[in-house]
Amino acid sequence: MRRGFEFDAALCVRCNACNAACTLENGLQPGTRSLYGWNDETLPPFSVYSLSLACNHCEKPECLEGCPVNAYSKDISGTILYDKDKCMGCRYCTWRCPYDAPRINPAKGYIEKCQYCFGRVSEGVETACTSACPTGALRMATKDEFPPVGVAWFPETGIGPSFILKGVPDANSPVIIPAEDDEVIPDTPVAENRVMKEWSLILFSLMVISASSLLLASALKADVPGAGLPAILMAGAVLISFAHLGLPLRAWRAPLNVISSPLSREILLVTALSAMAAVNWFLPGIINTVLLASVSLLTLISVDMVYFASDRSYRLKLHTGQSFFSAVFVTSWFITPNTLFLLFSLLAALSVVMRYRSSEKEPLIRFLYYYRALSLPAAFMLLYPGSEATSLAAAIVFFTGVAADRVLFYDDFSPINIRESILENFNDTYEKERDKQRQDAGIS
C-alpha cells in the first residue's frame, strides 16, 4: 500500500489552514505545503481554483534518485523520508522535484519537506494538513496503485505521484453579471531568475570548462599551457562550489550516491580531475595526457548531465552554453583558429539567434544575447590584422562571449516546476480563448 493525498479542487476555498497546520505541527517553514492557484488573477470568464500540494511521495522519487548525500529514503509504506542531518544544502532535489516539495530553509541551510507527519501517523493520528482542512477538500489516501492524475498542467513525468486530484472539471466558472466591461490581461509569469541566484555555479562551471579545455587542447597540441593554469582553475572551481552549499561542512558526503545521482558523479569527477591536474602540475609527465583529456571530457559531460536530469527539454540539450559545447569552442580556439573555428562560431551565433525571444528578457539577459551573437564574428575579424593587440582583444571578446553563453544557459535552464506549469497552461488557455473570441467577433 502506498500513502499519499487526495485533493478536491471544488471544495478548496484556499483558506491556507493546511499550510498553517503543517507549519505548526512540524515546525517547518510556511509553504512546505503550498497553495497554487489556477487563474490567480481571477480573470473572467475562467474558473478560479486552487491546488494544495506538499510531497506526493512518488513511486520513483526524483529527489531520492538525485540526492548526492543520500538524505532521502523510502519507508515501507512508500513515504519519502528525509534526514536533515545528512543534507548539505545543495538544493539539487529542488531542481529535480516537479512539485516543488523540497524547500530550502535559507536560515538553516538545509532542505525541508513533508514527511507525511511521520510521528503522528505512526501514533494512528491523521496528518496535520488533512485533519485541519475545514471543508474536507484534502484527505489522506492509501492505495496499491495511484492512477495518473490526468490534468494537463499537472507534471507527471512518469514518476508516479501518490496523488489523486478531483473536482477540477467541476470547478465552476460563475456567470458574472454584469459582464466585465474591460479586458484584463494576465501578467506574464516571471520565471525565477537563476542567473543571480546561481552565480557560484556559473563561476564554478566556467572554471571547469576552462581547465578542461586547456587540458584537452594541450593533449592535442603541445604549445598550449596544460599544467599550472588548469590546476589553479580546478582548485578555484572546487573552492567556489562550496559557496553554493547551505552547509559546506557536510560536502564530504557529496559522492555517497554515485549509483544514482548525477551530482555525486559530477562531484566525484571534478574532485578526480582537480587532483590529477595538481599532480600534473607538480609532477609533469606522470599522468598520461590522453587520460587527462578523457577525464576532462567525462567531467564536462557529467556537469551537463546534472542539468539534463532536471530539465529534459531539447532547448537545453542543444544549448551552445552547455559545458561540453563551451569546451569544444574553447578548445577549438587553441588548436584551430581557422575554418573549423569559423564553422563553430557561425553555428553558435545561429543557435543564439534561434533561442532568442525578446519579449521575456530582462535588459541584462538581452544584452548578453546581443553580445554573444556579435562576439563570434567580432573575435573572428579581430584575428585577421594579426597584431598582438588585436589578437589579445580577439581572445578577450571570444572568451567573454563563451562566458556570456554559459550565463544564458542558466537563464534557459528551467526544471519542471508546478507553479510555472500552471501559469504557462493558464496563459495558453487564456490566449486560445481570446483568439477564439476575436475570431468570433471578426466573423460575425
Partner: protein, 671 residues
Amino acid sequence: MKEFITACPRNCYSTCSFRVFTEDGKVKRILPYRDNLATPEGPCIKGLSYLEREFSPSRILYPHKRTEKGAFIRISWEEAFSTISQKLLEAREKHGPHSVLFYKGSGHSGLSNDIASLFWKTFGGATTTYGNLCWPAGLEAVRLTLGDVRHNVPWDLANAQLIIMWGKNPAETNVQEMIHVDIAKKNGAKLVVIDPRRTPTADKADILVRPYPGTDAALALAVAKLIIDKGLADHEFIDKYVSGFEKFAASLEISPEQAAKITGIPAENIEQLALMIGQSRAVTIVAGFGLQRYTNGGQTIRSILSIPVITGMIGRKGCGFNYANLQGYIFDAVKEPLCYYPDHELDKPFRREISMAKFGTDFFSLREPGIEVAWIERGNPVTQLPGSKEVKRALHSVPFKVVVDQFITDTAAMADIILPAKGLFEQADVVSSYWHPYVQYKPAVIDPPGEVKPESEIYFELARRMNMEAAIISPAAYDEWLLNRISGTGGFSREELFRAPVIPDQAEQTAFRERDFTTPSGMIELFSETAEKLWGVNPLPSYTPPDDFGETDLPFRLMTPNIASRIHSQFGNLEVIRGVVEPPAWEMSPSDARRLGIRSGDRIRVYNSSGEVTGKVRVTARTKKGSLVFPNGIWLDEGGGVNDLITPAETDMGYGAAFHNTRVGAEKESA
C-alpha cells in the same frame, strides 16, 4: 496526552467545536470534533493558530505599567490592583461613577463576561457604549419582520435547491458553511452569490451578481415586485402569516429597468433572478453582515427578507432567511439586538451611554463628568472604531487607562496599565454561536502561563480592595457559579454539557416551523409600525441611496471586509498567520488601476476629508470598478489604520456602524 472537547470563543459564526490534546501544561494538538453537525471538519486557520497564539513569546504574561518615558515595565499584581482600585475610587468619589468608561469589544465570548457587568453595576454604573459595530441593523430588521432572530440549522442548507449568498462570503468568514453548500451543490442545488466583490465564495457559484455597493435593497425590491407581478408569490402563506402584504405590494414601483440603473444589474438578469427564486421549491437566502453596514442597512435587510416572506419560504426545510441564529443564546435575559440599545429596563439606572459607532465624536460631548478612568477589555477600539483619529484623541485625553489584553495591540499601547488577559484554554466557560444551535462547554485545560489571571479573578481582587467583594464571584466559587448559571436552561444536564456540545431543547431544526412570530401582530410584518416608531424609517421595506457624507465627488466606495486569516484585529500578529498569508494590500479593479496608472505593488495614497492612509496595491478583478477594498482590523505596524478614513455614522436602525458608506479618492503615492 489528555484530550478535551472545547470551543472557540471568538466573534465568529462558526464557533467551532474542536478537540485539544495537552501535555506538560501545553496544548500540543488540535483536531476536529466530528460530531458537531455544523463544524464536522477541521477548525480554520485561526483556530489552528491557537497552538502559537496562547504560547506566543509576545503574549503579555504579567501586569505592566507605563513609565514616564513611555516604556512598559513589569509590575506586581499588588501594585496593579492597588493603583487601579485607588484611581477608580478616587474618580467615583470626585466625579461620580460615570467618570469611568467601561469599553468592551467582542474579542472573547462566554458567560464569564457577565462578571464584568456585575462589577461595573456594583461599582455604581459607568459610562459604556450602546450599539454594536457589527450586525445590529440586520438583527433589528429581522426582529421587526419575524419577531425573533433565528434560522434553520446550518446543515439544513443541504436541503436547499437554490442558495443565495447575499453579501456573505463564508469561504472566508464562516468556512464550515461551505461544507453544507457543497453538499447542497452535490444534490443539484444552484449557488448564486450577490456581492460587489468576486469573493472566494463567488468562485464556487453558478452565478455572481455584482451590484453597486449599498444598492441591494433596490435589487431586492425589484425582484420582489417581479415575483408578485408574475404570480409567483405564495398567497396561501401570505394570507395566513403575513401582515401588510397589500401595502407592500402597492408600494412597489421599481421596474427592472429602474433597478438596473440603480444597481448596475441589467434588467433581464433581474428578471432571471426573480424567476429562479419564484420557481424554486426550496430557496435559502443567506445574508451577510457587510451589506447592512450602511446608512440604509436595516431597510436593505428588510427588503431582502421580503423575498422569502412573499414566496412562503419561512418555516420550511431547505428554505429561509439566514442572517443570524440566536437559538443557542439561551442564557441571556435580554438578547441581541435589544441589549445593544440604550436605556433598556434591566440596568437603566446605572449606565450613561454613548454611541459605539460615533464614539470618537460623542466622547467629546461627555460633560459632568468627563472621563477620568477608562477600562478597556476584549477590544481594540483604536483599529476597530470608525474615525480612529478621533478615537485616539479621545483615549489620549483620558488621564488613566487600563487595557486588558493578551497582546500589545494598538489600543494596549496607549494604556497606563496593561493587565494580561486569559487565553481560551485557561478558564472554564460556556459559549454559544450565532449560527448553529449548540451550547458548548469550554473546560480549563491548562493553567494560565506566567501570572495571567482570568478577568473574573481580576475583578474579584479589585472588588476586595474596594469593599465590593460580597457582590463579585470569588475564584473559588467560579465553577459553581457557572454551573448554576446554566442549570435548567436548555433541558440538558451538566454532565451532558461536559461530555459534548449540546443542542438545547427549545432550539428548532427548522426555525419558525410552528409559525410563531413574536411581532406585535403575531404575524410576519412586512409593514412594521414599530420600525417607523423606533427608527423613523419607512414602515415598509424601501430603498434609499446610501449616504455619501457629502463626499459624492470622491470616486471610490471603501469596503473593509473581514478576511479568512483574522477575526477583526485578532490573529494578524501571529507568526504563522504572517508566514502563511499574503500581507494585506489595497485591492483595486484592473480598470481603475489602468486609469490611474497604478500597478500591483505600487504604493497609493487613499484619502477623504477624514484623513489619509497609504499602502501597497494589489490589482485584482475580484474588486469591482469604483470600489477599493482593504480588510479591517489590520494593526498599524502592518499598514493598518484604515478606520482613519471611516466617517462615524450609525445605521438606519439598531445603532450599528455604517462603515461601508465611506467614499475615498486614491492616487499613486509620489515617491
